[in-house]
């Protein structure tokens, strides 16, 4: 494939990949993987986003379309480089490309919204009226992680309090600027402007920008992601995110809210039966008390039967799913016959 040789040097802009790699110390840092493994299906602890089994399922569903992952990004215009390779070298290059694609497809963490900070350190009432504006003091020690940095605000009424999350993010961006992040969040992330972005089908770009701009547990990040997922589900544009790192997050969001029907139909239309079965397995992992989960466990169903049971019990669009399954089976029959 000469095409692979051409885009061998193409990469996401260095800023976004650097952002991606630095932030994902999250999982190790905050100990988000509670109990890894499928052991907690029947127990009280609900499987979280970071569990191994969940991540494996989501990764399988994401797919690996090398042409989409290494799609040429707008960079400085250079003539393409061609390399002459033997078969063995080409396989080696493909293998390396797959590994790098796997790295690029690491899913951003899904966290709960952060609690607002309301901590007062000191209250000096006699300072009231001396100043007209507040002071914001930031600790510039280089070796302190940003989460533990001291950022305090001295208000004009004399109270010394810890800074709110928005103030913290702004100050940290002023003194320790990160690529791709602005001090004041761009107007693009407001709801009325997101609509325009969705009309142009640029969901992946806005999600990348959102990851660069906000912290994963900030309310803005969560709000933008949820709007994007809602819009994709409303219009059925699941394929836009298929081979990107946002697919896992979208599936997690939909499964948690039990709105998986459109996605299931889309997968069956594209003949991705394995993905459909893993979607239903994930659904059962997250909602073990629902009827289809119990039936599946009793009967130990696999493949198409699982989908049929799920369609009968849990889904709202049963008719569509049956139709899609029928079409798939007919297509399979004709292809095997011919």
């Amino acid at each position: 494939m000469a095409a692979l040789g051409v885009c061998g040097s193409a990469a996401l802009p260095a800023r976004l990949s650097r952002v991606a790699r630095t932030v994902w110390g999250w999982r190790a840092q905050r100990g988000l993987g509670q109990d890894a493994g499928p052991a907690d299906e029947g127990k009280a602890a609900k499987p979280s986003f970071a569990d191994e089994a969940v991540q494996n399922l989501l990764y399988k569903m994401t797919g690996l379309n090398l042409h989409k992952v290494f799609r040429p990004v707008k960079k400085e215009l250079k003539p393409p480089k061609y390399k002459l390779m033997t078969e063995a070298q080409l396989e080696e290059a493909t293998r390396k490309a797959i590994e790098e694609a796997k790295e690029r497809l690491t899913m951003p963490p899904v966290l709960n919204e952060r609690e607002p900070i309301n901590d007062i350190l000191a209250d000096d009432k006699f300072l009231e009226g001396t100043e007209s504006t507040k002071y914001v003091f930031t600790d510039l020690t280089y070796s302190v992680p940003h989460r533990e940095r001291f950022i305090v605000v001295r208000e004009p009424n004399g109270v010394l309090r810890k800074a709110t999350w928005e103030e913290r993010d702004r100050m940290i961006q002023i003194f320790f600027p990160k690529e791709g992040r602005r001090v004041i969040p761009p107007v693009l992330f407001k709801d009325e402007h997101l609509v325009a972005v969705f009309q142009q089908d640029r969901h992946e770009d806005i999600l990348n920008r959102c990851i660069a701009q906000f912290e994963p547990d900030s309310p803005d990040y969560i709000r933008v992601h949820h709007r994007t997922y809602d819009d994709i589900e409303k219009h059925g544009k699941y394929d836009l995110l298929r081979s990107t790192r946002h697919f896992g997050g979208m599936v997690w969001y939909l499964v948690n809210r039990k709105r998986t029907d459109g996605l299931l139909i889309d997968m069956i239309h594209r003949d991705l039966l394995d993905d459909a079965t893993s979607l239903i397995t994930l659904y059962h992992m997250l909602h073990p008390e629902c009827q289809s989960a119990r039936e599946a466990q009793e009967g130990n169903l696999q493949g198409v039967d699982l989908i049929k049971v799920f369609a009968k019990t849990e889904s709202q669009k049963e008719g569509y799913i049956q139709l899609a399954l029928q079409a798939y089976e007919e297509a399979m029959a004709t292809s095997t016959a011919s």
Partner: protein, 133 residues
């Protein structure tokens, strides 16, 4: 290599390390750098280390931004550096040091003056505030 007698390596007699504000910026736009320097150096001249900055003008969100490298500040204070009065006041406001007594005193003086000004125009309607001390 620089020789001790050359103009570049100026030697001072006496003096000590101070942590003070060095003024920079442009006309009508001050900007202070919190700096550890020899006391005999020029205010904006060569310093030992920059420990932070202060922007005295409020920004778009109505805040005056200040950054302080507390770890290095502790190092220099441990080495025996002294602080200038504005630096002490700023650190008192920040909470790193206890509040400076002059901050408290000037706050009280301001309050007293404002109280007097509030009382005086109410007391005498005729324009002669000159008999106040």
């Amino acid at each position: 290599p620089l020789f001790a007698g050359s103009r570049l390596l100026k030697g001072y007699r006496g003096g000590h390390v101070v942590i003070r504000f060095a003024l920079g910026g442009c006309t009508n736009r001050p900007f202070f750098r919190i700096v550890a320097a020899h006391s005999r150096r020029a205010r904006d001249g060569k310093y030992l280390e920059q420990l932070g900055c202060l922007d005295p003008l409020p920004n778009a969100h109505g805040e005056r931004v200040a950054g302080l490298n507390l770890e290095r500040l502790r190092y220099w204070l441990g080495c025996g550096a002294q602080l200038s009065r504005p630096a002490e006041k700023l650190l008192g406001l920040a909470g790193f040091l206890p509040l400076h007594p002059m901050t408290v005193t000037s706050a009280e003086r301001l309050r007293r003056r404002r109280a007097q000004e509030a009382v005086a125009p109410a007391a005498d309607g005729s324009p002669s505030p000159g008999d106040l001390p």
